[in-house]
């Protein structure tokens, strides 16, 4: 820990501070001159082998992710956490390359804290959403080189101007899209989006009216459906008793659902 004697008292944002200290790689530059299909792009393919989903229900936003991590055809890990708490009211769920995604989550977490501590005020929701967008944008050069693609979902609870849950999904370039009802990304997401669309329009009730147990049940069914056809999605591991990770963002903060509770809902309504 070394202190800069000539410190001028101005606060950078946290990624800039890290770069100044050499603790974070430079933003990757997208080289517009390289021909399409050239050396850098030969290996590019969208690798986002996972399924994460989020939707608003009566108790806030539910965010769920399967636990499988893959490398090509190989399952490398079956207890991966893809639903990450960034602060007391924000969750980032990740599909994509874990190394990059986890570092992004770490940078983001520290960025929000750093902002609050230095500026003596909480970062606004719009500021937080932009911060993630900027990290994705900085990373896009690597995505074009075929490494480090991340496509996250961001869920948070806003208290200004009125208390409400907010939900966003991103593309790999950093564009953010706010959604009113649900979002899903990752390789298994087409199936999940189908289910959530169907449930929201023609299900027993719209997603926003569901109670917690009903919401958990739909999340489990959706992930299990995705896993049925997508080998990169773990779904529910019935023999290993491994359940998806489910977290809920509400006005009171973030709740991680206990595995026993998920197991009970699974047994009653899914299995």
């Amino acid at each position: 820990m070394r202190l800069d004697q000539n410190f001028a008292g101005t606060a950078d944002d946290f990624p800039t501070l890290l770069r100044r200290k050499g603790l974070l790689g430079p933003a990757a530059i997208v080289d517009p001159i390289s021909p399409v299909g050239g050396l850098h792009q030969r290996n590019w393919e969208p690798t986002e082998a996972t399924t994460i989903l989020a939707f608003k229900f009566s108790g806030g936003v539910l965010v769920a992710g399967d636990r499988r991590a893959t490398s090509g055809n190989t399952v490398v890990y079956d207890r991966a956490d893809k639903v990450l708490e960034i602060d007391r009211h924000s969750i980032m769920a990740i599909a994509g390359v874990p190394a990059t995604a986890w570092e992004m989550a770490r940078v983001l977490e520290h960025s929000f804290q750093y902002f609050r501590r230095t500026q003596l005020q909480e970062m606004s929701v719009d500021g937080k959403v932009r911060a993630l967008s900027k990290l994705l944008r900085d990373n896009f050069g690597f995505v074009m080189q075929g490494v480090g693609m991340v496509v996250p979902i961001f869920a948070t609870y806003d208290s200004h101007p009125k208390p409400e849950a907010r939900l966003y999904f991103y593309d790999a370039m950093g564009a953010q899209f706010e959604v009113t009802d649900y979002a899903a990304t990752g390789s298994g997401s087409p199936a999940v989006r189908g289910i959530l669309y169907y449930e929201n329009n023609w299900g027993a009730k719209p997603l926003q009216k569901l109670n917690e147990d009903e919401a958990v049940s739909i999340a489990l069914r959706a992930l299990d459906t995705a896993a049925e056809s997508d080998t990169s999605t773990g779904g529910v591991d019935r023999s290993g008793k491994i359940y998806p990770l489910i977290k809920i963002v509400s006005q009171d903060g973030i709740t991680t659902l206990a595995e026993t509770k998920i197991a009970a809902v699974f047994k009653q309504t899914v299995a």
């Binding site: 820990m1 070394r2 202190l3 800069d4 004697q5 410190f7 001028a8 008292g9 606060a11 946290f14 501070l17 890290l18 200290k21 603790l23 007391r88 770490r106 940078v107 520290h110 804290q113 750093y114 609050r116 501590r117 230095t118 003596l120």
Partner: protein, 259 residues
């Protein structure tokens, strides 16, 4: 100056006198460990004096706002980058103060052609148990005073910061007598308010070494509370949460004061 050591010593002495005079009006800050955490408290509404530094570390400071700001930013930068590259558990107040802040403050103070830091700071780090709480006071010349046990003194679960030495020492002896480390929040709040009153009274009466009588302290506290805002923050001991600091609102504290 190197060839003339006497002039260097004289310059340092002048500088010390100047800084002490600048800091002398600084309103006291009390920090007390209690059962569920550490409470920082001061009275006054002009500018913020109690700050969050990192997950388990908070700071109170008096002095020039510009210097406090530079030191505060430096402390947050160091703690944040350390917490990011290693882990939050590796950020320690002892290292932050001993290896980073103190040497820099000392050399700024002793390089007589440059400006010293016009600031006096009190840091606290909350531990898992009250015995593990750490309080460190850092002076403008880099001097560090700790709450830990030394050969001459037992361990304290409190610390005080004030404009003058007399004021601080009176607060410390008050807390030594009145504050029990394993107390609840309300008792800690009352001790902190009284300790602040003792310190502030000493600042106003000049260089008294006499502890004011209890009724005088209570009267003074009531008078001050009637027209001054409370600034306070706590570091919570609750290990289920990463971030332990929380600023307390004047309103929520008023409800706990029974005068």
């Amino acid at each position: 100056m190197i060839e003339e050591p006497y002039r260097w010593v004289e310059a340092i002495a002048n500088r010390r006198e100047y800084i002490e005079a600048q800091l002398a009006s600084g309103s006291p800050i009390a920090a007390l460990g209690y059962r569920d955490g550490i409470l920082f408290l001061t009275l006054g509404q002009t500018r913020q004096k109690i700050f969050e530094i990192y997950n388990r570390i908070a700071m109170g400071a008096i002095g020039h706002p510009g210097d406090i700001e530079r030191l505060r930013m430096a402390a947050i930068e160091l703690a944040s980058t350390e917490g990011f590259t290693r882990s939050a558990a590796d950020v320690s107040l002892r290292r932050l103060v001993h290896y980073s802040l103190s040497p820099v403050m000392k050399s700024a103070f002793e390089q007589v052609y440059g400006a010293p830091y016009l600031a006096r700071m009190l840091f606290a780090e909350v531990g898992e148990r009250p015995e593990e709480d750490l309080f460190l006071r850092v002076e403008y010349d880099g001097e560090i005073a700790t709450s830990g046990a030394t050969f001459a003194q037992a361990r304290n679960d409190f610390a005080a910061l004030s404009g003058t030495r007399q004021s601080r020492e009176l607060m410390e002896s008050f807390l030594q007598a009145e504050h029990a480390p394993d107390t609840g929040f309300e008792a800690a709040l009352k001790s902190a308010l009284d300790a602040w009153s003792v310190g502030q009274m000493a600042l106003q009466t000049g260089d008294t070494k006499e502890m004011p009588v209890r009724t005088a302290v209570e009267k003074y506290r009531r008078e001050q509370l009637a027209n001054t805002g409370i600034e306070a923050g706590i570091l919570e001991r609750d290990p289920s949460r990463g971030i332990r600091y929380r600023a307390l609102m004047d309103k929520e504290l008023r409800a706990l004061i029974h005068d």
